[in-house]
Symmetry: C2
Subunit: 343 residues, 2 copies
């Protein structure tokens, strides 16, 4: 395993979407490593997960830029001179992407093309790590899904994330941009919004259990998923960024023990001592873009750079519940439009 | 084979990019069928191929709208009440897409998403035929390339055309939009721009031979391609539009006898009695996005609706040369920026 302190010491790192769920956890890890100059770009688009509270305690150690990635002149200035870009910005909601496809296209394609053009022109030697999604595969033909699986995205979000992956790898091939794509599965942990379920069903279930509510299982709740605790995802980002061998590659993340939605709900009820389970019919607009059972093979990234998740589900969920017991009120927004959850 | 006259008689047809190369040939065929109301949307973006001359002789029989597909209110109005949309608008240049990727994204993704949203809202039962490109496959793993071949576009244009295909098929799956995608190979024939080579290398070679110039072969000129005469492509469009069985499908076009770039040049020199051949090194910016040998299997569309090309290459080239002898001056624009050709 690489010594991440020695890799990043003295380096300048830019995180797009850095005030969001994964971005702010990454920023905290980089600050904790020590000796890293951390800059954050976040446009704080409402409901996308970016918040100042996520940066509480490190706000004086990071340089925060309230800038939209589509602002080419500003982005060109910000990418100049940095050593690493962790490109986490984007719309993450599958359902939202169907309701407002043009906005998803703006945030997931136009923005990344603007960033890549800025890098090509002003910082061609930077390393850029792009976070994509397992959604690019669509309904799996076999399990676990590896990187050779056919690509058939089932919603506008998946289509646009796939195009953004292609852009990153194209810029690698044509211009030598040091780009790499990670396809994330369900990531959970502290600093994920609880006010709606558009960042995935896990925070929605966590909130429901903590509040003693009914956790609704679509269909039989037997859809299996692989869950990654956010610290493991942050480690994957840092290891991927640190390695030259990852340039131009695509890697799945994943977890060794897939769990059903029903099992997750039971685990949360056990951990919180609250909440109940109820099976409900699959809402039609959800079923149309649902992917059924899904879990990924992460053997490619494990072979390449030794990454594997370390946090057990029970530990990760306990840490998450503990965080929200203290800070949950910052992740509830009474003005947010409540949509039913996505699995 | 379907009786196209009876299918389209009394129908209202909208052609996007209808003043361009393939669009104007399609409009002429529909007018020739008789009894069809033909509307054309074209934004006449310079250098994209749309021209009023292409509509000469049918200008009083078509309804022409100088509108950009990204103009949602105007497009919503235009799609209302039509029976068929032939969606041919878009940027076609691979090299241009690398020089101005954001424009390619606007023309090849934003525009189509706007059109599909308009259809979803204002004309959900319309049939829409989208013209995509073999470029979505990237460098072929095997020949001929069928529709199961892996997708790995090699340039921004291919990435965006692939995303646009996905949008069309997604709208079919989620909303029942009657969409179908055709993946075109090299199409040639009357009404293709001769002033630059961004609509493919064929018109560039035709012009070169007619003017007695040197036809430059990149590398050894042995790259094999399948060429479709535009009338055959128009027939594919009309047959695909007319069939319910094509809804939600993707079909390659193609030709039975692939030909090398060198053989094509020799054929043109034989037909015109002019021109010379010279082998030159592959320009680097071309080689990076070149796909090598490429020809498609068209057996899927042949099985489904009986389409196959009817025009021999020699006949098609002779008809094309004859057209440009009469009208070539309308396809030369001295102000167009001349780029070297693409194979």
């Amino acid at each position: 395993m690489l010594d991440l302190y020695n890799v990043y010491k003295g380096c300048s790192v830019l995180i797009t979407g850095g005030a969001g769920f994964i971005g702010s956890n990454l920023a905290r890890s980089l600050i904790a490593l020590g000796g890293v100059k951390v800059s954050i770009v976040d446009s704080f688009i409402p409901d996308q997960g970016g918040s100042l509270f996520n940066l509480q305690g490190i706000e004086h150690q990071v340089e925060l830029h309230r800038v939209d990635l589509r602002d080419a002149p500003a982005i060109s200035h910000l990418v100049s001179g940095v050593d690493y870009v962790f490109n986490l910005a984007g719309n993450v909601s599958h359902l939202e992407s169907m309701l407002n496809p043009q906005l998803d296209l703006e945030l997931n394609c136009v923005a990344h093309l603007t960033l890549l053009e800025a890098i090509r022109q002003y910082n061609p030697h930077v390393k850029i790590v792009f976070t994509s999604t397992r959604q690019v595969y669509g309904k799996p033909l076999y399990l676990p899904v590896d990187e050779q699986h056919r690509l058939a995205p089932l919603d506008v979000n998946g289509i646009n994330k796939l195009a953004a992956e292609h852009y990153h790898l194209l810029y690698h091939r044509i211009y030598g941009t040091r780009a790499v794509c990670l396809r994330l599965t369900n990531t959970y942990g502290p600093r994920q919004l609880l006010c709606h379920d558009r960042q995935g069903f896990i925070p929605w279930f966590i909130r429901g259990a903590m509040e003693g509510k009914v956790l609704e299982l679509f269909g039989d709740g037997k859809q299996r998923r692989d869950l990654n605790y956010v610290d493991d995802v942050v480690e994957a980002l840092l290891l991927t960024g640190a390695s030259e061998a990852t340039d131009g590659e695509i890697y799945n993340l994943g977890a060794p023990d897939p769990i059903s939605v029903a099992e997750l709900a039971a685990e949360l009820i056990s951990l919180t001592g609250r909440g109940q389970i109820r099976a409900v019919p699959f809402p039609r607009e959800r079923q149309l873009i649902d992917i059924g059972n899904f879990y990924s093979s992460y053997s490619k990234i494990e072979s390449a750079i030794g990454w594997r998740p370390h946090t057990s589900l029970r530990t990760g969920l306990a840490l998450t519940i503990d965080y929200y017991k203290k800070h949950g009120q910052h992740y509830l927004d009474p003005h947010a439009h409540l949509l039913s959850r996505s699995n």
